[in-house]
Structures are given as C-alpha cells and as structure tokens.
C-alpha cells in the first residue's frame, strides 16, 4: 500500500482534494439554506409536519439516481461536479432543515419569554438567544450531514466524478486492491477529522454545555 501511495501520490491527492470540495461545499450551502427553512418550520407551526415529511422523502431518493438524474433536470453535463454538489446540497438541506426546526423548537419557552421581557426584538432574539441555545442540536445534525456527505461523494465515481470514489472504480476495473483500500481509509479518516473539527467548534462556541451536568 505504501508503494502504491508513493507511485500515485498525485492521483490520490487530487482525488482527496476533489473529495473534500465535493463533500464540504454542499455542507456549507445546505446549512445556509436549511437555516431559513427550519426557522420557517417553527415560525409557521402548520408547516412543521409537511417539512418533516418532504425532508424524509427527499432523503430516501437513492444518491445514484439523483446523481444521474440531475444533469437532465439542470441541463448540466453528466461529468460536471455541479451535479454532485447540488445532489449533496439537497440531502444536506433535507437533513438539516428538520434539525434546525427541532433545535429551535427545543428552546425552553421560558428562555424566549425572558429574552422578550429583557427587550429583545424578534430578529435579535433569534440570533442572540434562540440560535445559540439551539446550537448543540443543530451542530449534532451538522455532524451527521457532514459524515454522510463524505461517504456519499464516492458514489459519484459511478458517473465519473467522485473524489476518492474514483480510486474504488479504478481498483475495481483493474482488480487491484490497493487503491480501494487507500480510498476507504482516506474517506473514513476524512470523515473522522471533519467530525472532530465540528465537535471542537461546538465546544468552543457552546461552552455552557460542558457545565450542563452541574445545573440540575
């Protein structure tokens, strides 16, 4: 495996770079889109259940089907990385919109009333009080979405754009174990590192959760 890495370091690094971009751009985009949608699911209570159901159905579309079908829908080229980015953004939104709504719903009504009583208006209250309090739930969803995206990118290799997944298809076509193993290990490592980074961010931005035990 070491020899394989030495001989193919450029191919592997390029695949890794593409993998990171294909997995993480959708996380950022999906998060930004999911925030207002999730908020809407809380502000307009009757929207919550339809939102949950639509997200569930969206998430059940097979990734391979979405990857091959988006070019038809968007008019993009089949080999365009845009297909993967859009598909994974859809999955991320499906996962996170619900989490954002659940997170905001989990905010104690007393907290919101206190904030209102202290003179917070709706927008400031949302940004300064509700979102921070909902952050642990939202970030937990973000971890799931990130890890899922990183493993889903490789399916894109079946349509020619798949980051580390291309190492799988290459190894499969040549009946050669090394690239497949390298791809799997790097993909799992990447997921672990991304997960760890989000956990560290969470610890940094929600210091109060570490003292949650002492409160009760």
């Amino acid at each position: 495996m070491i020899t394989y890495l030495q001989n193919n370091s450029e191919v592997v690094l390029a695949a890794l770079r593409q993998h990171i971009a294909l997995a993480l751009i959708p996380v950022v985009l999906g998060f930004l889109i999911a925030l207002p949608i999730g908020y809407l699911g809380v502000r307009v209570p009757w929207l919550y259940h339809p939102l949950v159901n639509v997200c569930g159905v969206l998430y059940s579309i097979p990734s391979l089907a979405l990857f091959v079908f988006l070019p038809v829908l968007l008019g993009t080229k089949i080999l365009s990385p845009l297909n993967i980015v859009v598909a994974l953004t859809i999955y991320t939104v499906a996962l996170l919109a619900r989490t954002v709504a659940d997170g905001l719903r989990s905010v104690d009504a007393l907290v919101i009333e206190s904030a209102t009583a202290m003179g917070y208006r709706r927008v400031r209250r949302l940004v300064d009080v509700e979102l921070p309090v909902a952050l642990p739930v939202i970030l937990a969803g973000l971890r799931v979405a990130t890890v899922a995206n990183i493993s889903l990118v490789s399916v894109g290799a079946l349509i020619g754009v798949g980051g580390l997944g291309q190492l799988f298809t290459r190894g499969f076509q040549l009946f050669y174990l090394e690239p497949i193993l390298v791809g799997i290990i790097l993909s799992v490592l990447l997921a672990a590192v991304a997960d760890l980074i989000i956990v560290l961010i969470q610890r940094a931005v929600t210091p109060w959760t570490r003292f949650a035990g002492s409160r009760a």
Partner: protein, 219 residues
Amino acid sequence: MNLSYLFDITHWQLDTAGSIPQLILSHLWYVFLALAIGTAIALPAGLYIGHTGRGSFLAINAGNAGRSLPTLGLLMLMVTLLGLGLLPVLIALTVLVIPPILTSAYAGLRSLDQRVVDAARGVGMRPWQVLFKVELPMALPVLMSGVRSAALQVVATATVAAAVGLGGLGRLLIDGLAVNDYSRVLAGAIVVAVLAVLLDLVLALTQRWIVSPGLRVTR
C-alpha cells in the same frame, strides 16, 4: 423528462429477464437478505449492550463509524477479494444495516424509565423475562425507527449492486446511463423512490401492529 420507459408495457412483462418486475423482485431480495442478516447480528448485540450496559461505547460510536464507511468502496473491496456474486453485495449492504439497528436497540433500552425495569425485577422476573417481556416491548418504537431508517438506506443503496454486475433496480440506472437512455434512468429512480416509500409504509404498519397500544398514548 419523459416517462416512456416506465409506462412501456413491454418493460413490465413478468417473464422477461430484466423487466421492471423482475428487477424489483431481485432488488427486494437483496434488501430482505441484508435486513434479515443485519438484524440477526445487530439486534442481539444491541439488546445485550443495552441490557447489561457493557460495551456501550461500541453502540454509541457504531452509528457514526457505519455512516462514514463508503458503501461503494466496501462493495468493490469485497468483489475484489471474493469475486463477483451475491456474497460481496450482501456483506456491503449488511454492514450498512448493522449500525442503525444496533444503535437504536441500545438507545431503546437505555431510554426506558429505570423504575419500570426495577419494578419488573421487583415482582420477581428473571433477567431474560425482564428483557423480553418488559424492556424489548417498551423499546420497540425506538428500535423500529432504527429498522426503518436501515431499510430506507438499504433500498436506496442496493442500487449500487448493479455497478458490480448484479441485478436490482440499479440496472435501470447503470444501463440507462451507459446507453444515454435517460427515460430508463428516470424509471429506475422513480421505482426505487416509490419502493422506499412503500417499504417504509409497510414497516410503519408493522410497527403499529407489534407495538403495545399502551405505549401509543404518550403524546
């Protein structure tokens, strides 16, 4: 966007090899086998960990570890190691099924009111009676949600079986893509999505049927 492949009656002949009903059957067969084997492994393990509290580290992290493992890579690794056939596909799909069921079995048992378990022990139930007459029935809603998410994932992922030459609805996607027949690709995508929704419905009904009515009034 055209639905001509899906609505062409010649693609629905039961006895033609590669027709949509045949692909649905082989697809469901992979899904069933993977779910059955995965449940047979993950359920006892999850119940053991949840009941005894031993190895809970494993149960908590199984979910994330399983999600991060790329199924396509695992599948191609298995094919390279074992050759073409049903076995490598089943291994890859089973690995996908185990984490959600293991985690939900564990979480279901852990989420129970500990007083209920104590009461069961207090009235003289043996450990296995506590597990099968109290803990497992009460953990069923959480457990079933794990089974349902596992089923959804497997229905969607079983499409990759076609990438290594097997049948299932992935054939429509892979073959349609190979010959630029998007109406076939669309047919595959729609049938898989409908299958996923139907399977979830069946499991939801099963859940209603096997979960004690006493647990339904919580909300």
